[in-house]
Symmetry: C2
Subunit: 294 residues, 2 copies
Amino acid sequence: MQVLRAVVVSGSVSAAARELGYTPSAVSQQLAVLEREAGAQLLERSGRGVRPTEAGRLLSGYAAVIGEQLAEAQAGLDDLRAGRAGRVALRYFATVGASLVAPAVATLRRELPGVRVELRLAEAEDPLPQVRDGLADVALVVRAADAPPVDGIRFVHLCDDAYRAVLPAGHRLADRRVLKLAELADEAWVGSEGPGPCRDVVLAACAAAGFAPRVVVQSEDYPTAQGFVAAGLGVSLLPETGLGGVHPAVRVRPVRDPRPVRVIWAALRESAPATPAVHTLLSALRAVAGPHAG
Amino acid sequence: MQVLRAVVVSGSVSAAARELGYTPSAVSQQLAVLEREAGAQLLERSGRGVRPTEAGRLLSGYAAVIGEQLAEAQAGLDDLRAGRAGRVALRYFATVGASLVAPAVATLRRELPGVRVELRLAEAEDPLPQVRDGLADVALVVRAADAPPVDGIRFVHLCDDAYRAVLPAGHRLADRRVLKLAELADEAWVGSEGPGPCRDVVLAACAAAGFAPRVVVQSEDYPTAQGFVAAGLGVSLLPETGLGGVHPAVRVRPVRDPRPVRVIWAALRESAPATPAVHTLLSALRAVAGPHAG
DNA sequence: GGGTGTCGTTAAGCTGCGCTGCATGCTGGA
DNA sequence: TCCAGCATGCAGCGCAGCTTAACGACACCC
């Protein structure tokens, strides 16, 4: 059909053949089979050269739009390859949204403006099956460094996000440079996280230090937890990345013995083809996470 | 691309192969070359079966609209073949419009409602070159029966349109059953036709009868000419098909010695493919012209 | 009007695409 | 654990589709 199109626009079999890089013979034969399978005469000889019949014009018109579609598909594919288009689905968890996701997505949108980002909070459910099944391209997860590998999923280390002790400004330990975790064993605690791997890290650290924290008030997000601490309700452990702005009435101190750390990973499907969108998002995440790495 | 489409909708290479009547191997290889020339991964294996990537979905979408276009083209071609669509260009001359063209086109539009008719009056110019060059499909012409053939054009005889003498009701010859042309030699004449083959027929007949008509008033159409005759301005010769309604104040009589006849033909391009539209138009013309054949 | 260049078409021949058949690796269910 | 069904790679082969060559036809030009 594209051959027919070329013949119709050029008005001659030979010209079309030159244009397409064929011999006139090839074009003629091609047209013959097209006429046979169209069941109608498409061209008629008019002295020197040929002219399309009604059927020929019809078919040539369709050939034109099909050629258009083909070119458009090619362009779309090029856009996709160059990262000027596409879509990337990211799953994250609540306590990492502001500090990591927001700036990384901002970077992605700046570098690849054509890429659409589908952000979704994976609160209760485990995002890894979604990654494995291709429903998501990247998932941010907290996961022990020595956790067993998951089949079909590749984990990219983003940062070791260390927890800090957060104390009311007037607290008896507020002036110490470094705290041992066990020193907080008898304090009233402000829980800062819902159930999940982040809270597990804190609980495990406390258990290793020989106690279970006595939680007197439970928050679900870090700024609120800081507010509770500032009000003197108790002490808390907050991860480095969760300390967006430090409340003036609290003190933040490193913690030892043990040093609680939530390890943040990007989970990717092992078999996923490398797309610029995912690659750029990943780079942005690492760039944002880097400063918190320790 | 249509193979890719089938794979995407069916979700499996094997199912697509069954659907297309190929072996899974053929489909797989086809996809491999498509991926190579697309420069991007289009499908990814997901356990049992395959799932399209972003690029695969993109290309599959374009394949769908291309398939749609292809089907539409096929349907359009079928319409054309069946006479449900198409276009026919007809050239005619003024003095045959009402009597032949109008009813024939009406018949065509009734039998093939989808066919568009391009009607054009070919007044001054000769319509035959337009037919030869494909600008018109059919031309109505007046032409002597023994005129030489025209290269590349086929003439279909429609009718021998005999001229009648038209006299004022009170004319001295008005009660005669049949007139000899020479009897009108000294009359005042109402010219009914502009220059062209129709008038030539009349002039030639008069010349054969030994005189040149003395035209006192010239009309360009038959009804007006009848009006002039009815007003007593003179006599006239009008063809059978031009006598739509006979004016009450005129008498119409056959003419002999000679019997002027304009022979009406449909001119068709010799090399034109047979289309239902043209064929039906021709049948309608012959059906309309039949009653005037004598 | 005849010669000539160009055009479209046809026949013959050959190359390479694209299909089949079969073997292999792999996944998911019994 | 085995087995059915899937996708894929490789050898083989038929045929679509190209090229070369030759022919008839038309337009242009001397």
